[in-house]
Structure formats: C-alpha cells, structure tokens
Amino acid sequence: MTTRGPKDGVTTLRELPRAIEPGRDLWPQIESEISGRGATAPAAQATVSTRRGHGTPLRWLAAAAMVGALAVGVWIGRSVLPGAGPAPLAQAARPAGATLPAAWVSDPRYQRQHEELMRSLGAQLAALPPASRVKVMASLTTIRQAKQQLEEALGKDPGNALLQELLVNTYQDEMRVLTDVREASDAGKGI
C-alpha cells in the first residue's frame, strides 16, 4: 500500500491513511505531563506561562497600580494623622458598599483615639458656649457628609488616588476638630 501525501491531492476520504505513526514514542512525555514529572515537563510549562503572561498584561498592570495606590494611601495615612508612627483610619461611619482599603481602617490606635473622642464629644459640646456649639456641630456634620461623599465615590472608583488622599485628609480634619473641641471644653483654659 502506497501512502499518499497532501501534495498528491486527496479527492475522497478513502484516500486518507487510516493511521499516521509518529516519528518517536510520545507516551513518556505524555506520562510526565500527566504526573507533573519528567524531563520534558518544564519546557512545556514554560511555554504555557509565557503565553499567559503575554495574554493579560493589562490585568497585571491594573493590579500593580492598585497595590501602588494602596501603598501611597497607607503612607499618607501614617504620615499625616496625629501622633508619631502609623495611624491609619477608622471604620467609623463607613457606609455599606464602600470599598476602602483594609489597611486604612484597621489601625487600633487610631480607632481607640477616635472612639475615645467621640464618646466624650457630647459632654465637651455641652461645655461650649451655645453659639459655638451650634457651629461646631454643623462643622462636624459637614465633615461627616464629606466623608460619606468621598467613600461613596471611592466605592465606585476604588483606585482613585485623589479621592483616597482627600478622604485621608478629611479623617485627619475630623480628628483635629474633635481634639480642638476637647481642648476648648477644658474649663477656664481656653483652647
């Protein structure tokens, strides 16, 4: 039986060979692929990895950008908030759905300071002159609304570095106001 190749021209299925034998025994390589071992496996894996790397560069770039943005956010938080050393942000008043980076809201020292100031806020406000109390409460409301707006915007655009920076600074402003109110409420000491 003569084996005909494609160049000879195939006109019917019957003219195709029933089997084409490989030039070498392929089983050892297949076996090594299946078992994850064998001499030829690394080369095959390398080919697969390379293809994956070329196929999704944007995904990696996006991930790197996100990590970078988080790092900047954490750095800003630790640099600007009151007290030396790390002082990231609290979870206070965070609306559902906001996707703040976890590093911002997990620092226990900040949370402790914030909770302490909030707990005593009522008594401190009561010690202020009435006109001042009204204005301070309005300012705290302004800050709370600003935080809410920023968090909602970040929920839609979590990687936005501008929003992250503004939010961190707004948290810092809130701490400043709370601290000022506490100092102001110390009887006879002014602020």
Partner: protein, 304 residues
C-alpha cells in the same frame, strides 16, 4: 389691696431684672507691673474682650472693666513671665456663659512673646513683634502680624490678620469661622472646615491651605522653589499666584471644572470614569503648585 397683690410679682420681677442688668459690670481694675522687654506675657479671659498692644516700655499695664461674675483679676510675675488671668466666680456649669463681660486692655513690651487664651472673648493684638499664640473658642481674633511666628486658632470664631510683608511662619486654623489674611509673607498653614479662607501672601515660601467645604482664595507671589498646596473636598479653589521664575502645576478635580488663565486644557483622567486634571509648567517651573478638590472648581492663574 387686691390690685397690689396682683402687681407685686411683676414689680419684684422688674426690680430683679433691673438689678441684673445693672450688675453686668461690677467695677474696674488697673495695675502696672515691671516686665522683661523680651519676656512672655500670658493672658486669659473667659467672656468679653482682650485687647493687647505693644509699647516701648518694659512694663505690663492692665486695665479692665469687670463683668458681674468676675471674682478678681490676677496679675502675677515669675521670672520673665507675666500672667494676667480673669478669674470667674466658681460656677463650673456656666463658666463660659456668664452674663457679665470683662473687657481687658493690656499693654506689653513690644518684643514680648504673647499668649492669649479666651473662651467667648474676642481678642485683638497690635504692635507686638514677638511670637504670638492667640486662641479662642467662640471669640473672633484680629491681629497684626509682626516679624515673628504666629499661631492663631479658634473653634467657631473668625480670624482676621494683617501683616506688613515681613516673612514669618503662620499657623492659622478655625473650625467654622472665616479666615482673612492680608499683606502676609513667609510660610503659611491655614485650615478650616466650613469657613472661607481668603489669604494674601507675598512672597510665599511654603503654603498649605485646606478646607472641607469652604472656598479657598489665594493671591500672592511664590518665591523661587516655593511649595504651594491647596485642597478642599467641596470648596472652590481660586489661586492667583505670581512667581519669580514660574511654577510646575498639578490640578485635579473629580467632578468640578478646572480653569486657568494660560490656555492649558484640562484633561479627563480616564476614558470612562469622572475626573479631570491639568498638569504643566509655567516659566522655569521652580515652584510647585498642587490643587485638589473632589467637587469644587479650580481656577489657577500665574499672575495676581
């Protein structure tokens, strides 16, 4: 007789209120003590006014019109420290809501370091050349800025400061009051939550302005290598900054417009999301200007 019984409570109330009205001030106080020409003068008053002026004498003069609920005025000297304190009659629950206001006029050596602390009292200072720290809770503060550093702070009071173009470090903050600064020079840090910041600094070195909802307006000239940073969540930023040799600028807003006077177009930060930014350089670009807001508008110009 029946008529007398009916009118008696009204008469008593009338007499009582007349007595209360008349007792808003309960006398005057005057004292003068020798003081170090470069010493520290500390003044505290709860309610009323504190007016401080610098003079050429090495003495501190205190004149006061006392409020009804004032126990005494203390003037003490210790080393180069002179302390003036208006002491209220002890009433913790209403320490700062007293009906009587004490008006304090103090003259201090002009090179003194001044430290004023008040609750509801308005504070003014003029002609003081040393470092000043002026703080109130709800009182307004008006001050002349000398060649030395100044820290001015109020919770709900407004701040009005005027310099003479002499460089100094200025730290100004108010929670809800407005802040107005004119003819200042040097480094400035000013913050407010809901008040408006209107500042004029020429020349300016390091400037950091921040508000949450209040508008920020800056006018001045940036020194070589100056660093200018203004930021608000929802307030507008209006910056007219002349320079010695230009500035590099970076302006960004999430939902607000960005405008300038030198025809650089703001760009969208992304194809799909909100946000605009504008970067560039004017002249040699030795100074740096950063303007950021979420929903406010930005207006930048490189001339006053």
């Amino acid at each position: 007789m029946r008529m007398t019984h009916r009118l008696l409570p009204a008469v008593i109330a009338l007499i009582a209120s007349a007595w209360a009205w008349g007792s808003d001030t309960s006398g005057t106080f005057e004292r003068e003590v020798a003081a170090d020409a470069h010493g520290v003068v500390e003044i505290s008053n709860t309610n009323g006014t504190v007016d401080v002026t610098g003079w050429d004498r090495a003495a501190v003069s205190v004149k006061a019109e006392l409020g009804a609920d004032v126990d005494r005025v203390e003037v003490t000297t210790s080393g180069n420290h002179t302390m003036i304190r208006v002491v209220q009659r002890h009433s913790p629950a209403s320490f700062n809501f007293g009906h009587g206001e004490t008006h304090l006029r103090v003259q201090v050596p002009k090179d003194s370091e001044l430290d004023v602390s008040a609750v509801s009292a308005n504070a003014t200072s003029a002609g003081v050349l040393g470092t000043q720290r002026l703080k109130t809770v709800s009182g307004d503060i008006t001050a002349e800025i000398g060649p030395s550093d100044i820290e001015v702070k109020s919770v709900s009071g407004s701040l009005k400061l005027r310099g003479k173009g002499e460089p100094a470090k200025l730290h100004l903050s108010t929670v809800s009051g407005d802040l107005e600064l004119k003819h200042a020079a040097g480094d400035l840090e000013a913050t407010t939550v809901s008040g408006e910041l209107t500042v004029e600094v020429d020349p300016a070195g390091s400037v950091r302005l921040r508000s949450t909802s209040g508008d920020i307006r800056f006018e001045g000239r940036l020194r070589h290598g100056a660093d200018f940073d203004a930021q608000s969540v929802s307030g507008d930023l209006n910056v007219r900054a002349g320079t010695e040799d230009g500035f590099a600028f970076e302006a960004a807003s999430v939902t607000g417009d960005i405008r300038d006077c030198f025809n650089v177009e703001a760009q969208r930060t992304g194809e799909y999301g909100p946000g605009t930014k504008m970067n560039g350089t004017r002249g040699a670009g030795s100074a740096h200007v950063r303007l950021k807001t979420m929903s406010g508008e930005i207006d930048l110009c490189d001339r006053r």
